[in-house]
């Protein structure tokens, strides 16, 4: 069967790829574009390890077809740092030891950035509910929540 030709913006760059109809955006990112920062933890939208944004909206890339990316702007973990400058969330995750194995970290960083874009001053409860779609089995979430709150503080400049 013929593959689909898709044009999209990926982390600010124009990108073209061919994909099969059934391939998810996650498969395309990982297998066709070699961007393996987005992880497959479940492929059913339950764990959030594949979180990306499409036109600013937080989604599980395992629940989006590759063809649906046509004409859209996609942001993945690989686009989070600006050159050699880490995003404040990335820095705070390192300072707070907010990762152990690190497999959920890319998805959680994308989700947390999405939260702070909407709510620059979230409460602990708001952070916990926003991140409820991102499973972490290592940390018990303490240091993740601490890191997000601390990054929010720094980004607000307070």
């Amino acid at each position: 069967m013929a593959k689909h030709h898709v044009t999209a913006a990926l982390n600010g760059n124009s990108v073209e790829f061919l994909c099969e109809t059934q391939q998810t955006l996650l498969d395309v990112l990982r297998d066709e574009l070699q961007l393996t920062g987005s992880k497959e933890g479940c492929a059913t939208g339950d764990c959030g390890a594949c979180s990306v944004t499409i036109d600013g909206r937080l989604v599980c890339s395992c629940l989006v077809l590759g063809v649906e990316a046509q004409g859209k702007s996609i942001q993945t973990i690989e686009g989070m740092a600006q050159g050699d400058r880490l995003h404040p969330l990335q820095r705070k995750f390192l300072e707070h030891a907010a990762l152990q194995c690190g497999i959920c970290t890319p998805g959680i960083l994308i989700a947390a950035r999405s939260l702070l874009e909407r709510n620059p001053d979230p409460s602990e409860g708001e952070v916990r509910y926003w991140l409820a779609g991102n499973l972490c089995r290592c940390t018990g979430y303490n240091k993740i929540v601490d890191a997000v709150l601390d990054a929010a503080r720094e980004m607000r400049g307070s």
Binding site: T36, E78, Q100, I103, R137, T139
Partner: protein, 760 residues
């Protein structure tokens, strides 16, 4: 808030106890770190595994011809592609590796023993073709009656998984086969006399559900094997040396002909100390002549890997009015899953270990049933028996009207206390965790309506064993530390800290890496809370060898004897006035003169580390129970754990937080749900619900530091014991809130509600 209690006489460290950024941090926050599924090679094929739809069935025949003929398919394998293995239990009793079992678990032979059991595998040019080929494999199954529950599996009329399995550990051996693989017993003292002296006796029955380790990364690997008998694996595991040994054995290869590269590992918790996909990918690669990648789906992970055992238990404890425990007895029946090897032995040893009990007996049974073979999970076995023992401890304390923490403190083991398995405890630490909780403000905080507070404790044997490390001084005076321990939660950082402290240099001057199986000596798995202890000892030993060499080089430069050179704060110094007057020579300066003084400076150390001190944890939990729905909300959770010494306190705290939260999931949500046909009905994260951020409060960690004299920096393992008390702490809190003692895990809303209603 996290806290730390350290004994006052401690000497100060410069690097140990600080919280630097981990060496592998940046790649892990930028998506650059490569995990098991993140590797690819030119010409790579995708492997896919056909799994049994039956819980128990005989395989009459497998026809793979149609699958093999599908365009794009390059190899199809079945159990016929793996050599038969000898039936013998090799190595330690608890894991007692039996390759006859292992080869059958990775690929079913005569029978399938659980839904999801692998029966064939395909490698094809795309994932879609590989999956399509699976549909073309014809397996002729003769379904057999199955058994899921442990008590049912022990009945004389139960369907047998192995028609010739005779229970081990019973003298004389039983005449008839059964599903009971092994009986274990430990005991000291006179049980009858002990209970006769008791003023209060409580005996209760308990069950726990099997729970999955729940690592977020499904098992995945990439294999490149050739038909000359050599191969390479990129694999996410808790031990690449174990992956190498098991894969080589199952493929009948020399260990040295298999090279395993340590991929980053996305969580393991014990579940990645064994192998599933590696030998299949290797066999497909060998057959096809191409690299082959296999990624498990989440459904595959639930149906065919892990979990830890479910159990059925009875525990009886007797105490005097003054609070002293006089006797205790436990019966622990564990589901091993489809092959022998549950952690029941650990359960029988650990359950009563925190207490000084003169008369005590523990009996355990390892029982096979039609579930996936159990795998290690964080302090394997101990949390299960602790749920029963610590619940009964709570009930006994109530019966003699004593504060539950003080009751535990009164009976707490210390150095010299006998254990149920014989030897005396050689370390303190338990009482200190109880004292930390007694002193914690949470213990006196007021509670509201429908709220309750529970406490519980736990014990775990931290492990030591074989580890290897190399330390090389670079030309510019920086240092590379390589070990054979997979870094699952920050161990590169702790290795770099210990090296920097020992050498007397800055943390930033040390680069810590994990070396592949050809580049470092054998190192046992990252498990058993052993890495910072055992691999840490190897790192420190290698550093000390390097220091000896640095002193010798400085001595050569100064034209004095090496014995007259001391090493202090990263510099060679004359050892006293008699040695001569020289300015201290820093490591960097010695490194610069390495060629003049004999060439590169480096050392390797391989150890078999003994004297790992056990871990103790005590936990306090506040809950609120919704009387309308039975839902339990965790309001507050404090964990006090003796960690010996925290090398990087942030990552140690993280272990405590994470272990507790896994315990909360085990207590409240997690279970395997089977239908009548033996099919797992909740094989996904939606229906197998692990705790999410909004379920939880901040877990409050108290690092209790009672240093271990058998480690240069006092380390005791920290990774596991934190999970041990958690389920009992929650159960005791629910009992405190609603006056109902729940004895079946998980304590899900329907069960809590039923318990409340039963009391109305």
């Amino acid at each position: 808030m996290d806290m730390k209690t350290t004994k006052p006489e401690e000497k100060a460290f410069k690097v140990v106890g600080t919280r630097p950024v981990r060496p592998d941090g940046v790649p892990k926050v930028t998506g650059q770190a490569r995990y098991g599924a993140d590797f690819a090679l030119p010409g790579m094929l995708w492997g896919s595994i056909l799994r049994s739809p039956h819980a128990h069935a005989r395989i009459r025949a497998i026809d793979t011809s149609k699958a093999a003929a599908l365009p794009g398919v390059k190899a199809v394998i079945t159990s016929a592609d793996f050599p038969e293995q000898e039936y013998e239990f090799i190595g330690p009793e608890r894991v007692a590796v039996n390759f006859w079992h292992m080869t059958r678990n990775v690929m079913a032979r005569e029978k399938v023993l659980y839904e999801g059991h692998a029966v064939a595998a395909v490698a094809a040019t795309t994932r879609a073709i590989a999956d399509a080929a699976l549909e073309l494999i014809e397996v002729d199954y003769a379904p057999l009656p199955h058994v899921i529950d442990v008590d049912a599996a022990m009945r004389p009329d139960a369907p047998l998984l192995f028609e010739d399995m005779i229970t081990r550990g019973i003298e004389p051996p039983p005449a008839k086969p059964s599903n009971i693989s092994k009986r274990i017993e430990f005991g000291i003292g006179d049980l009858a006399a002990g209970f006769a002296a008791a003023d209060a006796i409580v005996e209760m029955d308990f069950t726990t559900a099997p729970v999955h380790q729940g690592y977020i990364e499904p098992h995945a690997c990439l294999a490149r094997f050739d038909n000359k008998g050599q191969g390479e694996l990129w694999s996410a595991s808790q031990g690449h040396f174990v992956v190498r040994a098991f894969t080589a054995k199952l493929l009948n290869m020399n260990i040295g002909d298999v090279l395993v590269h340590p991929a980053e590992i996305g969580g393991g918790f014990g579940g990645k100390t064994v192998i599933y996909v590696e030998p299949l990918a290797a066999a497909l690669s060998r057959r096809s002549g191409h690299p082959v990648k296999i990624m498990m789906s989440r459904e595959d992970v639930f149906k065919s890997t892990g979990p830890t055992s479910g159990a059925s238990m009875t525990v009886k404890i007797g105490a005097r009015k003054d609070g002293s425990i006089v006797a205790a007895e436990g019966l622990f029946k564990f589901q091993a899953g489809a092959f022998p090897g549950s952690p029941v032995m650990n359960a029988t040893m650990c359950g009563f270990a925190p207490y000084n009990i003169p008369n005590v007996r523990s009996v355990g049974y390892d029982v096979v049933c039609n579930r996936p073979k159990s795998a290690a999970y964080r302090a394997p076995g101990s949390p299960i028996s602790a749920f029963a023992v610590e619940s009964v401890m709570d009930a006994v304390a109530a019966k003699i009207d004593m504060d539950p923490l003080k009751f535990r403190l009164l009976n707490a083991c210390k150095t010299g206390t006998p254990t149920v398995w014989g030897p005396k405890h050689a370390h303190d630490g338990y009482a200190e965790t109880l004292q930390a909780l007694l002193a914690h403000p949470a213990y006196k905080a007021p509670l509201g309506k429908n709220q309750g507070r529970g406490v519980a404790s736990g014990f775990w044997f931290n492990n030591g064993g074989e580890s290897s490390a190399t330390v090389h001084v670079n030309e510019d005076g920086t240092v590379v530390v390589a070990t054979g321990s997979m870094d699952i939660g920050g161990s590169r950082a702790s290795m770099a800290i210990m090296a920097a402290e020992t050498l007397g240099i800055e943390y930033e001057a040390v680069r810590a890496i994990v070396a592949d199986t050809a580049s470092i000596g054998f190192t046992h798995v990252t498990g058993g809370s052993r890495v910072t202890f055992a691999t840490g000892i190897a790192v420190v030993e290698a550093c000390n060898k390097v220091i000896a060499e640095l002193r010798a080089r400085a001595a050569m430069i100064w034209k004095i004897e090496a014995a007259d050179v001391a090493w202090e704060s990263g510099c060679a110094k004359p050892a006293g006035a008699a040695a001569g007057k020289f300015e201290p020579m820093p490591l960097k300066a010695i490194a610069a003169k390495r060629a003049l003084t004999g060439g590169p400076i480096g050392a390797e150390a391989s150890v078999n580390a003994g004297g790992a001190a056990p871990g103790f944890a005590s936990e306090l939990c506040d809950v609120e129970v919704d009387p309308e729905t039975g839902a339990v909300k965790i309001l507050r959770f404090v964990v006090a754990q003796d960690v010996g010494r925290a090398i990087h306190p942030s990552y140690v705290e993280g272990q405590l937080h994470g272990g507790v939260v896994q315990g909360i999931g085990w207590a409240l949500n997690e279970e395997y749900i089977y239908d009548d046909a033996g099919h797992l009905t909740n094989a996904g994260f939606l229906d197998y619900r692990i705790p999410v951020a909004s379920d939880l409060p901040m877990i409050e960690a108290v690092l209790v530091e009672v240093p271990n004299p058998n480690h240069p920096y006092g380390v005791k393992g920290a990774g596991e014991v934190n999970i041990v008390p958690a389920m009992a702490a929650v159960a005791n809190a629910i009992n405190s809130a609603v006056g109902r003692r729940l004895t079946d895990l998980p304590m899900s809303p329907p069960k809590v509600l039923a318990a409340i209603d039963a009391g109305c």
